[in-house]
């Protein structure tokens, strides 16, 4: 069963913050976040494990609430380069396939 992402789309001005949420009805081992620009492959951002960890690099971070089976991706002080579609994906164990959500389209305006 695919994870549910919200919102479906976000439009921001450069410098604003965004939060993208991902939830699953099933117990998760891992949550994967990818960004995809039009016509390109998904690019790996980060993976979070059960245990409720939080990860981040640069101005993009994410959390994973295992009890709620939810993950959130935080983009702070957004840059034009952050535009794209963000997909969360979930896995049941460490080498499991990724089941992707439908994506959240993020558009950053100058």
């Amino acid at each position: 069963q695919q994870p549910v992402q919200s919102p479906q789309a976000v439009i921001l001005r450069e410098g604003e913050d965004a939060v993208i949420n991902c939830s699953s009805s099933k117990a998760l081992y891992s949550v994967h976040w990818y960004r995809q620009k039009h016509g390109e492959a998904p690019v790996f951002l980060m993976i979070l494990l059960k245990g409720g960890e939080q990860k981040g690099h640069d101005k993009i971070s994410a959390s994973f609430n295992e009890k709620k089976q939810q993950s959130s991706l935080y983009l702070t002080a957004s840059q034009l380069s952050y535009s794209g579609t963000y997909f969360c994906g979930t896995g049941r164990n460490r080498d499991d396939k990724i089941i992707f959500g439908k994506g959240t389209r993020l558009h950053i305006l100058p």
Partner: protein, 115 residues
């Protein structure tokens, strides 16, 4: 930085023809995957491959599809008799050296157009 490569980047074929999509995963990875993405839609899992055999496949991956790792480097997806609805972007991904969990790195994709 090592990366997954895929060939061709774009293939146009007629309905009913066989196509083979090729991938070279990252060299020391152990797990291989094929995903597809119909234009404007989400990425969908097709099949995973480990230790020279399919470990899991989706309902999309019917008898028309097959995968092979013919040598130590290539990983191929064959579609025996293409249908119009097979038109999509096909991504290969690889992951896993030791330990875990494994980040999956995607190749640039092959755009398959069936006419």
């Amino acid at each position: 930085e090592p990366e997954v490569t895929q060939t061709p980047s774009h293939q146009v074929t007629q309905m009913g023809q066989e196509v083979i999509l090729r991938c070279v995963p990252i060299s020391n990875h152990l797990y291989f995957y094929w995903y597809r993405q119909i234009l404007g839609q989400k990425v969908e899992f097709l099949v995973s491959f480990y230790n020279n055999e399919i470990s899991e496949k989706s309902e999309i991956f019917d008898d028309q599809f097959s995968v092979e790792r013919p040598d130590g480097s290539n990983f191929t997806l064959k579609i025996r008799s293409t249908k119009l609805e097979d038109s999509a972007m096909y991504f290969c991904a690889s992951s896993g050296t030791s330990g875990g969990p494994y980040e999956q790195y995607f190749g640039p994709g092959t755009r398959l157009t069936v006419t």
